[in-house]
């Protein structure tokens, strides 16, 4: 068990994050959504408390206790008034050690989750991201949906969720962070109470990077009626957060799309007024993940916006940034770090994330030291190594009838049209 403590008495609150290694990327093939299902089910009753009693008890303490799933871990995140922290930790310990996995809640959750799929289909931005994740690098562990599909959800059995919990919720597979109005000794005592009833067991083996980057440009038009815009996602499988080039990539992404002064924002929004915004980032994860550009352009300029984005990206990958751009972005990133570590809660969350990503302690907080030593040539070399515009996948959620011809002229590769509600 790894424990991170960030004490700060300035607010009478205690935050805690419990990360359980093995998130959605560890779902069995064909049973996507299992990790999410297990975590939500565990939150719906533990120990002697059925769901209603557990909810009532937590709410009565003024507390919040939420579960989530990422590609690399499950999470249980709590917020408690410091005078109630012991009681809330006891409830979280129950969820870890003695979830009820009640049959009726299992069945209800299986009925609920497809409706979350509906809500994603109703939200163009979320829909674009869901399709992009699926299509960016087929076969990659991060390409499988954390939510599941209607087909995979139908295969989830209660016994599978119970087995997953027994296998993965063991002390050595957890990273626990506590922050706020709690001193170090009390925090470590609370962390111990979270795990004292858990079985012994080693950290689980997590998926390896088996994904090959898909070659060649491809475009997918996710057809949805009545759209006035196109939600766009453009990118490809790149590298992992924590790769030796991470500082250089941070500078590179800031210049291309990580600031208001970035190239994408200036060219797409400021010069042309085509979109409210445009940006890019390497997704932060334990394994290599997507490098992704996003924007939402008016439907009448969706094709030109895709073409321009691909041109800008190709030029940037080939030539990299200028010395002045690197100097500016380095200054921005180094200066920005104090905002990311200003509160005890932020510091705790960054440390927990670094641990889940299997990075050295303090990796993210120490990035400014590495940034200060970067030369423009380092950034240009990183662009050449990790940016692959010729392999970019484009996903556009928009109305095909209106946008298709212009997208075909955007040099984004062969277009496949799919219905917005078929995945």
């Amino acid at each position: 068990m790894q424990v991170v403590v960030e004490a700060s008495p300035d607010t009478p609150l205690v935050w805690f994050d419990i990360a359980i290694r093995g998130g959605a990327s560890a779902d069995p093939v064909g049973i996507e959504g299992l990790h999410r299902h297990a975590a939500l089910l565990a939150r719906r009753g533990a120990g002697t408390r059925v769901r209603a009693v557990l909810d009532e008890t937590l709410d009565g303490l003024g507390a919040a206790l939420e579960v989530g799933v990422s590609r690399d871990s499950l999470s249980i995140s709590g917020l408690a008034l410091s005078r109630h922290a012991d009681a809330v930790i006891a409830l979280a310990a129950d969820i870890l050690a003695a979830p009820r996995f009640d049959e009726d809640e299992h069945a209800r959750l299986l009925r609920e989750t497809p409706q979350v799929l509906d809500e994603i289909r109703d939200d163009d931005g979320a829909l674009a991201t869901r399709w992009f994740d699926w299509l960016c690098s087929p076969g990659h562990p991060y390409g499988r949906t954390s939510l599941g599909t209607e087909g995979s959800l139908a295969k989830i059995r209660r016994e599978d969720a119970i087995a997953l919990w027994r296998r993965e919720v063991v002390a050595d597979n957890l990273v626990i962070g506590l922050a706020g109005d709690v001193d170090d000794a009390r925090a470590r005592s609370l962390a111990q109470r979270l795990v004292e009833r858990l079985p012994a067991g080693a950290a689980i083996a997590q998926p390896e990077d088996t994904g090959e980057r898909a070659r060649g440009r491809r475009a997918f038009l996710v057809d949805k009626p009545d759209r006035t815009q196109a939600q766009l996602r453009i990118g490809h499988l790149a590298t992992r957060y924590g790769h030796p080039d991470t500082p250089a990539i941070a500078v590179a992404e800031a210049i291309l799309g990580g600031m208001f002064s970035s190239r994408l924002m200036q060219e797409i929004r400021v010069k042309r007024g085509w979109s409210y915004g445009a940006g890019c980032a390497l997704r932060r994860s334990r394994l290599p993940h997507w490098f992704e550009v996003w924007t939402a352009a008016a439907i009448e300029v969706a094709g030109p916006a895709v073409a321009l984005t691909l041109e800008l990206y190709a030029d940037y990958a080939a030539n990299g940034p200028t010395e002045e751009e690197v100097d500016f972005a380095r200054s921005y990133l180094i200066g920005a770090m104090p905002f990311h570590v200003a509160t005890a809660r932020q510091r705790m969350q960054l440390a927990v994330r670094d641990a889940v990503f299997e990075l050295p302690a303090g990796y993210t907080a120490k990035l400014p030291e590495a940034l200060g030593q970067l030369a423009a040539a380092d950034v240009r070399a990183a662009c050449a190594r990790h940016f692959h515009p010729d392999d970019a996948v484009t996903v556009a959620v928009t109305t095909a009838e209106t946008a298709r011809a212009a997208l075909e002229a955007a040099n984004a590769g062969p277009i496949t049209v799919v219905r917005h509600d078929e995945y």
């Binding site: 937590l58 609920e112 809500e119 008016a298």
Partner: protein, 442 residues
């Protein structure tokens, strides 16, 4: 120069942090709160101008400034404002709502002087010329497409305000109607700037790691010479009492019905606003809330339900937002909501239930004040919307005093069908052509 300031008020904002309000001779307000846990600053400039200060036909004007104010000034070429801020590692942003507009700088502590200089420059010397306005007009129309035209929740929100209010300026959207955004004329844009962007219509809020005397000196130096403006009188618009339920329905490309219900509620300064905060929490503000339990868990008629009070200066709305579950519809959900509201009167909450809602409110309050941005936003909102940042403390006192009897009385008074407006988005059927022309109002 610090002697030019008059200390007007002082009160705690969070544990160990005290906020002080000073006033400069030209009417400029300054709220300063030292919080030295990190070497950063939240420097925000709040203007008492929002969409309520617009006229019909020129809606979206206040929000357009949220964009224009990052442009060229007499001293700063286009793009320079953002470049200067980003070079420090800081960030800039802005927000507009019905009662206010505010501009936000997050800066390293060492860059206080830069922040004050930039904010004073754009308050006085913004360059409003054709090309820049047209470019931002395009950006705003795209923002509107993303947040309203192609977003069912944005559409529901806009329609609710448009139908719940018939006289008050709260009836038009803060981003503006599309045809108005396209028609805003440059002379009127310039006049709006001259009218509202003045020291006697602004409050600077600074929270973080700074020297208070240096802050006051810098602000006096950069703002002290700016004359106050002649501000227009406050709008006298009063929303008439709603006498009957209003219902709007329209088809949208969605999977299940979505509905947004707005009950007429008091303004945030009224004691009953705090009572309705407790009501909102009891109905749908936590996992054990009554409506959540009934609609989402027991009946499985909804996939989500949420309750919120809009924190407006004038009478506002208590909103219930529901996404129906597959196989269920809005009418069924409305009937269930009516039964639960009636039960809240017939079977009032226990003292423990009310205490639960108060504990959740306490957690929310402390959480919102846990960083410098949150503290600055709370100070700016209460000062600008309600006239005094200490209204936050008044609200806390009101919340503490709420009883179960208050809850039952507030439900009987406010949560009645004749005082509500319901907007329903329904899935489009088959291949029928459907657009906003199909909207039905009852």
């Amino acid at each position: 120069m610090s002697s030019e300031w008059q200390l007007e008020a002082e009160a705690p904002i969070g544990r160990g942090v005290t906020a002080k309000r000073f006033r400069l001779h030209n009417g400029l307000g300054l709220i300063a709160a030292l919080d030295r846990r990190a070497p950063i600053l939240a420097l925000q400039t709040w203007f008492r101008v929002g969409s309520r200060h617009e006229r019909p036909g020129a809606t979206g004007m206040a929000h357009l400034f949220e964009h224009l104010m990052f442009g060229q000034t007499e001293q700063l070429p286009p793009g320079e404002f953002d470049r200067l801020v980003e070079r420090t590692g800081g960030e800039s942003n802005a927000a507009t709502w019905v009662d206010w507009t505010y501009y936000k700088l997050s800066l390293p502590a060492r860059d206080l002087a830069l922040g004050v200089r930039l904010e004073s420059e754009r308050m006085q010397h913004l360059v409003l010329e054709h090309d820049r306005v047209e470019s931002e007009r395009d950006v705003v129309t795209n923002e509107r497409r993303e947040r309203v035209e192609d977003d069912v929740d944005g559409w529901l929100d806009e329609q609710l305000m448009a139908h719940a209010f018939t006289e008050h300026p709260y009836r038009w959207p803060t981003i503006g109607w599309m045809e108005d955004i396209r028609a805003l004329a440059l002379p009127e844009i310039r006049a709006f700037y001259r009218t509202w962007y003045a020291p006697n219509n602004a409050t600077i809020v600074c929270v973080g790691d700074f020297d208070e005397r240096e802050l006051r000196d810098l602000i006096a130096q950069h703002y002290g010479h700016i004359p106050p403006a002649q501000l227009p009188p406050a709008s006298a618009a009063v929303e008439p009492e709603q006498q009957r339920e209003r219902i709007v329905r329209a088809p949208k490309p969605i999977a299940t019905d979505r509905l947004l219900i707005g009950y007429k509620a008091p303004g945030q300064d009224e004691p009953d606003w705090a009572v309705l905060e407790i009501v909102a929490t009891l109905l749908a503000g936590c996992p054990s809330a009554r409506l959540h339990r009934k609609l989402v868990i027991e009946q499985e008629a909804a996939s989500s339900v949420d309750a919120q009070l809009t924190p407006f200066r004038d009478p506002s709305l208590m909103r219930l937002a529901v996404t129906t579950a597959r196989g269920h519809d809005a009418d069924e959900v409305i009937a269930s909501i009516d039964r639960e509201i009636a039960r809240l009167v017939e079977d009032p909450p226990t003292a423990a239930e009310v205490e639960k809602a108060k504990a959740l409110a306490e957690t929310d309050l402390w959480s919102s004040l846990s960083d410098v941005d949150g503290k600055a936003e709370a100070l700016g909102h209460y000062e600008t919307a309600l006239g005094d940042f200490r209204r936050l403390d008044t609200l806390v006192q009101h919340l503490t005093a709420v009883t179960a009897a208050d809850v039952a009385r507030a439900v009987r008074t406010y949560l009645v069908s004749t005082r509500r407006t319901i907007v329903i988005a329904e899935p489009e059927e088959g291949d029928d052509e459907a657009d906003d022309d199909d909207e039905k109002v009852a």
